[in-house]
């Protein structure tokens, strides 16, 4: 007896739990691989999984085995020129020619040296952002309730036909019909009984006038019964929607970068990686993330991504021009009530001498009150200049929402990023 079962529609990922257990168990190994990968990868490359290798020794499942040594007899196929009594040199110093079979080498716990596997994109990003969190996500959720979403809120007596609740309307109609017909039916039944009684009487005793009167009454009642409407406007019910304030799930990220002559392509690449990490991170926390690229030298300009990263400019640097532009864009297009605003700025620390003070004022007075978080990375191996000092003052004023770090080379990006967004103990 045989039967076929089509299981194709069944759940896949039966091994998901076991897979996760494995990843958890070797978390530290995998994290190390992921960290290396983040620093190694090109920027457009974050969207895929990652091959990870773990030393096989670390994940072996030991069992009792024979070690090398002693006397063994090995049977192998494919003899070509050997005859009995031939003596051969040991190939590669011991182990014998047993091939895989029992795996002479792995007895030592150091056989195949690497256990390699592939993380999915999701798993990869989980490891990249493991232990990180966005600061002040909940503040936006609690305070700014400008964004609304319609939600169902029972039924109401008025509304548009498209939202009519048929079942409820019919139920109302049915109830009304029962209620309106009941007294008529009772009167009708009484009239009929009276008529029957009258007609059952001896013909001599009958009262013809009474009979006629009852008949007329019955007819009138039947007509009234029929005239009770099947459905009435009074019965109609509509699904009621009310607007409920909604925590905003939209974010916009401003990438601000200095493109003056002192910023080399290497600087920009480092900045780009930083922006990209931040973008991926925001994307995991918000339904929708918009990007605005603002570059500046002495004047600021909003550009597209390509131009932002790859066009070259020369000239001096006025950072406040970019901050002013960001401020304008926020006012024009991204009302803070509806958007979570993030600014990431990258620069080599150069600024026009008098401008750094303007920057601080701009930030403290206008920008910071509206932003969720402001990160500033300074890509320079050199000593800090005026801009850094002014920003330090800003950081003192907004310790929770303003963060600044120095990056010297590409390898610093990920550690700095992790430090900026490290999950902090609730206070």
């Amino acid at each position: 007896m045989t039967y076929f079962i089509d299981r194709r529609a069944n759940a896949k990922h039966k091994s998901a739990v076991n897979r996760q257990r494995f990843l958890d168990r070797y978390r530290t190994h995998i994290k190390r691989s992921v960290e290396e990968a983040v620093n190694r990868r090109s920027i457009t490359d974050m969207e895929r999984g990652e091959k990870v290798s773990i030393p096989a020794r670390d994940i072996s499942e030991p069992v009792f085995q024979h070690g090398p040594g002693g006397k063994r007899t090995i049977v192998s196929p494919g003899n070509k020129e050997f005859v009995e009594g031939d003596r051969l040199r040991r190939p590669g110093g011991g182990g014998g020619g047993s091939g895989a079979g029992e795996g002479g080498a792995s007895n030592q716990g150091e056989g195949m040296d690497e256990f390699a596997f592939t993380l999915s994109r999701e798993e990869f990003l989980d490891f990249v952002f493991d232990g990180l969190e966005l600061p002040h996500l909940e503040r936006k959720a609690l305070v700014d309730l400008d964004e609304v979403r319609p939600v169902r809120a029972g039924v109401s007596r008025d509304g548009v036909p498209a939202r009519m609740n048929i079942v409820r309307s019919m139920r109302e109609a049915y109830a009304r019909r029962i209620a309106m017909r009941a007294p008529i039916r009772r009167a009708l039944r009484e009239a009929r009984e009276a008529l029957d009684m009258e007609e059952a009487k001896d013909p001599v005793l009958r009262n013809p006038a009474r009979i006629a009167e009852l008949r007329a009454e019955i007819k009138r009642l039947e007509k009234r019964l029929e005239s009770v409407p099947f459905i009435d406007t009074y019965d109609l019910r509509y699904n009621n929607l009310v607007n409920q304030p909604q925590p905003s799930s939209k974010a916009v990220m401003f990438c601000v970068m200095d493109v003056s002559g002192s910023m080399t392509q290497a600087h920009k690449d480092i900045a780009k990686r930083f922006f990209l990490l931040l973008y991926l991170f925001l994307e995991r926390n918000y339904e929708k993330v918009e990007l605005v690229f603002v570059r500046h030298h002495t004047a600021a300009k909003e550009v597209d991504e390509e131009e932002f990263f790859y066009s070259r400019e020369t000239g001096g640097t006025i950072v406040s021009s970019a901050l002013t532009l960001v401020d304008e864009i926020i006012t024009d297009r991204y009302p803070p009530g509806q958007w979570n605003l993030y600014v990431a700025q990258a620069s080599d620390g150069d600024n026009w001498d008098d401008d750094s003070v303007n920057c601080r004022e701009q930030l403290v007075k206008s920008l910071m009150p509206r932003l969720q978080y402001y990160t500033y990375v300074e890509i320079t191996p050199h000593a800090h200049q005026a801009l850094w000092e002014e920003y330090e003052a800003v950081a003192d004023a907004f310790p929770d929402r303003f963060a600044m770090r120095q990056i010297v080379e590409a390898g610093d990006i990920y550690p700095v990023f992790r430090e900026l967004f490290k999950r902090r103990a609730a206070h």
């Binding site: 045989t2 089509d6 499942e61 009792f64 007895n107 596997f117 592939t118």
Partner: protein
């Protein structure tokens, strides 16, 4: 010649076609007296196949990271194209579950049905090892129980605690089987045995062995413990415990480990039961694959002879079959040990040949087989042997010649390797003996037994490793002893008994101080 009326042509399949072929296979199998459990054939996707592989073919299993590791390895191999999934995954249960992968061609589906649903299935039902050691009808239920139980334990005691326990049990699972003690075939007796086992289990909960010894902080000597040689009343005599060495390490742990909680004992038992279930499979690889390959070859050819498949399909089949039973030579880059499919197929085919067209050599070597009824003979062989004895009994000079088998002696006291025997008149018997030995589990795995548990002293556990041909234990002995130590809770020792019965190397866990330095 038969007029060809193939049930289907081309490589696409659908359920009607599969059912039609299955009916034909069933008819032919009946003709060849292949007695099988009912078949449950499941059509699955690639990903589900990888899941199935990862759980060693069990339809349900408890969660453990090692299965995740297995899954990742399978996935990686499959992505690189190193591995065709597909061939067969069949579960020794009643009904017998076999998987067909969605994207296989029609030929492949028919081949897998012949191989798994009639080949392996009849082997599971017929072979004596499977008949005595496994209970096909209850395995799936037991797996469900095991999965639930382990999940409950994880909830109650934490995932890590359960995981560590399972790690330790897995390290010992090859030593969780009764090798020589067979379960009784009579069901009433079977029941009685289980009952005693359960009693023993309860007994273990109040194990009087340990009750008299007071608790003490780890590392301190028992207060007032009699020192060696200072035992005037002979309190510490009374013989060794256990009186006989025990080969089933997990069983001994389950019943005797002093500190395990009841749930931990139950998990040890689960791992032990599953190891026992897989034990026959580990001993019948060559026979099982050989039998299945022999029958898929026979059945597919019969389908062709009966005109039920077309030339295209049979050619595709032959190509696939040839690849499966190919045996690369020892010096080939593709060589990875003796291919059980190749050896098994060659041997079963050779038994048939000896019955049908015996040569003088066959009459001399196999007087009982030569000229006998081939179907009776292959059935007899399938039923009553395991790899070791099957090779000893049926490996013919012709197969040795065909595969060009030879033996090499690798002795660490000799700086050269020596070719001991080849496929010639003087060598046949020695090659056969050596090959049979190579498949004996007792030789493949080190011989390790529980020798003594010091129930009157420091509660240490002593294992004996009886060396064979001077072969020492591999270095994995340390991590395994560490696992054993976790289960036992007190020091464990491993003593090697040399070939001349003298005491060899002693290993102790936890390591004595001078070794850890």
């Amino acid at each position: 010649m038969t007029r060809r009326k193939p049930i289907a042509t081309g490589s696409d399949w659908n359920f009607e076609v599969l059912e039609a072929y299955e009916r034909e296979l069933a008819r032919l199998a009946d003709e060849y007296r292949l007695d099988t459990y009912p078949n449950q054939i499941e059509i699955i996707t690639t990903e589900q196949m990888m899941d199935a592989y990862a759980s060693v073919g069990m339809p349900v299993g408890y969660h453990h990271w090692s299965f995740g590791k297995q899954f990742l390895a399978v996935e990686q191999a499959y992505r690189r194209g190193q591995m065709g999934l597909a061939y067969e995954l069949v579960i020794n249960s009643d009904p017998c579950i076999a998987y067909l992968m969605e994207e296989n061609t029609l030929m492949m589906q028919v081949l897998v049905m012949a191989h798994a649903c009639y080949g392996h299935n009849s082997f599971f039902k017929g072979n004596y090892l499977f008949r005595t050691w496994t209970d096909a009808s209850s395995i799936v239920d037991y797996l469900v129980f095991a999965r639930k139980y382990v999940a409950e334990c994880e909830q109650r005691h934490g995932v890590t605690a359960v995981e560590q326990l399972l790690d330790a049990c897995h390290a010992l699972q090859n030593y969780g089987v009764d090798r020589y003690k067979r379960p009784s075939p009579i069901s009433a007796e079977e029941e009685a045995r289980r009952q005693t086992e359960r009693e023993e289990y309860l007994q273990a909960q109040v194990n009087t062995l340990w009750r008299t010894i007071p608790e003490r902080p780890a590392g301190e000597a028992l207060p007032g413990l009699l020192l060696d040689g200072e035992d005037p009343l002979g309190l510490r005599g009374g013989g060794r415990y256990p009186p006989e060495p025990q080969e089933n390490l997990l069983y001994f742990i389950e019943k005797n480990a002093p500190l395990l909680a009841p749930w931990q004992r139950e998990i040890v038992r689960i791992v032990r039961k599953l190891a026992q279930y897989f034990y026959p499979q580990r001993q019948t690889q060559v026979m099982n694959e050989g039998w299945a390959s022999f029958w898929h070859y026979t059945l597919m050819n019969r389908l062709y002879d009966d005109g039920l498949v077309d030339e295209g399909l049979i050619l595709e089949f032959l190509q696939s079959h040839t690849a499966v039973v190919n045996q690369p030579a020892f010096d080939s880059p593709f060589y990875s040990g003796i291919n059980p499919y190749a050896l098994g197929f060659a041997m079963f085919s050779d038994i048939k040949r000896m019955c049908e067209a015996p040569t003088d050599e066959d009459r001399e070597w196999f007087p009982d087989t030569a000229g006998a009824n081939w179907l009776d003979t292959v059935h007899f062989a399938m039923r009553n042997f395991k790899d070791e004895s099957f090779i000893q009994q049926f490996l013919s000079p012709k197969v040795i010649r065909d595969l060009k088998l030879f033996t090499i002696i690798d002795d660490d006291q000799d700086e050269m390797l020596e070719v001991a025997a080849i496929h010639d008149e003087r060598g046949y018997r020695r090659v056969r003996d050596a090959l049979a030995t190579q498949y004996a589990l007792s030789v493949r795995e080190p011989n390790i037994q529980v020798y003594a548990a010091d129930i009157r002293g420091d509660r240490s556990l002593t294992l004996h490793h009886v060396q064979d041909s001077r072969r020492p234990l591999g270095r994995s002995v340390y991590p395994v002893l560490r696992h054993l130590h976790q289960l036992w809770g007190f020091p464990v020792r491993m003593e090697s008994i040399m070939d001349d019965d003298s005491l060899g190397r002693r290993i102790q866990w936890p390591l004595p101080d001078e070794e850890t330095k």
